[in-house]
Symmetry: D3
Subunit: 195 residues, 6 copies
């Protein structure tokens, strides 16, 4: 790390505090659905990144790249919040690329470029890794919806349907089908049975 | 994806539900520190993965590899829970490698290998990427401690001190110093001032 | 109530469920400030309406009108969410009047007009009642900030300063000064002392 | 505002802090029903006031008056708490008028009178506006019960039944029927379908 | 257990569900003090019972008797709620003995007598065990206040002062002094240092 | 209390703060089951102690002894946490007797012995009081599971089944059957009907 880079460490520390907001911001859609204390954006992004890596691996894509993009797929929401579906009719947001450019201003150039490129590739939806990362976003939402349903929430079907319809890869589709036909705690039973 | 692989999709869907537990499990140390409703393991892991990528980039390591390892650095806690520091005197846990091996049993082999190798490299602490990911774990904890302090919690100094002492890379150390000398909301002021 | 009006009761019941979202949506600014589980929009609107009536009374305005307008000053946020200050740089929202017009479509005309007129008057900022209601919004925020500060939160000064600066009426200013120079629990002491 | 009035501003600021307690006090009945983290009194009062205005409008009464009374219908609970139905057998509370008189002691006389008169009219149950405001209290409870039921709670039928039985106006009854025959999220579907 | 007793098992199961409410009811005083999500009555009663046993042991009293009484010292609050200090001016409650008598109606006689006698002895304040149990109630409150203070809450001094003033036994007083002069996490340091 | 004993008061105050952690630690099993904000260990222990006293009374055992043991049956979890069932495959914990011995080090000897003996008797499972206290632990879990089920949670059957199977006393079994065949709010209906 050169001295020049070091001059931007203040900006980078600030960005890490900014991303802390993703732990406090809740996923708005679940509030619409009636979940009073839903998951945070950070929680969604964590499992989405894990899923992105797995789908990519099974689709023959670069798993680490897909997971990496996935980490940043909602980081813009520190500035534009998580706009629910219904809100898109009333709000015109800056592009995720532009928001990201603002966020990484004052951050060491290598890091700024790295994040900007990840966001750009994700938004472009062209590379196989981007497709896998986008499927992961949808599949994570579907899985969370099933979890909320088993916790009693009766209004999540819309989220399941729209997530399912948006999944593109074979792996993503197969995993969604599986997730819909299994209980969320069957894994515990399998472990306890030694399967 | 071959048919054989497809046979393991049930196992993989189960693993995704298992990882959902990381959204519900809280970081135990903060409960000790007096935070009644602290962050989840998933929230910590999300920001840790982002930080790992950034430290790695600035240290000249593979950012995506570091972030990827970071995603799995606490996933074993679905089975062994997040044992607080004081608990390590009373509990002997299976190794993270062994727990991971159990977790990925019944998962498509490519995914099982991918996760197992990421965990093994992280636990070995040898590669530069592993060192960066381990620093990210500590730095994330330090940053969260500062955030809790600004929310009123007066018992987080021990977490700041021990995290700081464990950080190894130059980048990690510089970021920790910065984080300790900045307020957690200064980034907002900079944005509003157009800096 | 005529039969025609009755045909719109479905729409009105829907609007009441829509407003239920204001109980689940949190005030976003407090999340930025570091409050993990802050008040809802409904909670803010309740006290704002009470304050609006009181300021209006002391300013010689129509208290009930000011309180009534105040009830609807944030109801548009079911569709556009509570955009934090920093978000206004990145989001262009439909006007509150337009959002309201959409919300009351299919609602009995008398109610639709009543709500639309209240929102329009509030947004116009011209009538004394509107000025009082707008002061109430700011004063409520200031008072909540002081309450959060006494609960430990150290990052609320910005909210106090900007609220204070925006208050226009003499009554609002005097109440803000009082609120800043009193502890939030002094009323309990006065009651217990029989003052 | 005269100087004399100004001398009571301390008391008024204290009352605003006292009303802050309505954000922290939960509606006790829901705790009985099994809701671990239910709505606050402030949240209930907000939607009740909105409903009161709407019912009054459709019943040909003064909407602003009904809404205004509704704002204060539970403010006494800062001192007597929200006594659940079962508690009424064991607790004898001061009248709401007497509690209000104590609350507004030391508050500017115009405000004290305004609040006292609103409470008195509500408690007298005689004016059409009071009847509408009382219906709003019941209808709000019924609607919230339906929302909790869709979130999984299976013990809210008693609250629905007793609320329904207590509603007096034609408008209130029609709205209750509608609320019971609609899903809580149908409004979203209508918006997305452009209805 | 005779057949006759068995006939009352329904009543006893009902009482156990009734006591479940003590997990959901929060300690009202802390809500006044500004704690948004405070401890439940059950949580307070648990530690109070433990403390009662310890104080009694050191005061030469029957530790098990003191702890047992302590378990039931707030169980009446399922019916009369936890009335905050300020509320006592406005609410006249049935005696704890009378409430208890109602609660244990329909419960096997041996259990009814056992609970009734524990409550009566506690309310009589005569036996040394009752004095110890009452001190435990106060000391528990003081300790919790210190914990909330270290979590940032600045309005708990009144609770500390009034609790301290009410403690009667030498042991209770010594423990209160100790609790006030120690940090809430010093026990962790001692354990980690091997003290 | 002698001077020597007084020297250990610091240790005892520390233990009371340590037990405060039982209010913050959640019962892990419920997190596995999908309850996002479940009861604390303290809440469980409170009702378990009450139940232990009642079962013991009806079984002809010493009710106060059973309740007292019950208070300490999970206090070791401040150091070893509440290990979920699945975790027992991966974690080897120190014995509860050894953990307790560590906890009461530096505490007045009479108290240390009292707690140590209560834990030892509970762990030995030999005395009738210990059997009753152990049944109370299971019955409390079963009752809580039913409560969660009525709140919407669909994954608690495993907890009901395993708790039921482990109950040994006639009273415990009868109460479990009753609890499973009654609604959790039937006691309210009985009270309101004057039964």
């Amino acid at each position: 790390m050169t001295d020049d880079v070091m001059g931007d460490v203040t900006g980078l520390a600030g960005l890490l505090y900014e991303f802390g907001l993703l732990k406090r911001y809740k996923r708005t859609g679940w509030l619409v659905a009636g979940v009073r204390d839903p998951e945070s954006i950070a929680e969604h992004s964590f499992r989405a990144a894990v899923i992105a890596g797995m789908i990519a691996k099974l689709e023959g894509a670069d798993a680490e790249r897909a997971a990496f993009m996935s980490l940043f797929h909602d980081t813009q929401e520190t500035r534009i919040t998580d706009i629910p579906y219904i809100g898109k009719r009333y709000l015109k947001a800056a592009s995720n690329e532009d928001v990201t450019a603002d966020q990484v201003r004052g951050v060491p150039a290598e890091v700024a470029d790295m994040v900007g490129e990840a966001v750009a590739e994700y938004e472009e939806k062209a590379s196989l890794e981007a497709v896998c990362a986008r499927d992961a976003d949808k599949l994570e939402c579907l899985i969370q919806a099933v979890e909320y349903r088993e916790q009693g929430h009766q209004n999540v079907q819309g989220w399941i349907d729209s997530s399912l319809a948006a999944i593109k890869t074979t792996t993503g589709k197969r995993l969604a089908e599986e997730a819909l036909s299994t209980g969320t705690l069957e894994w515990v039973t399998r472990v306890l049975n030694g399967d």
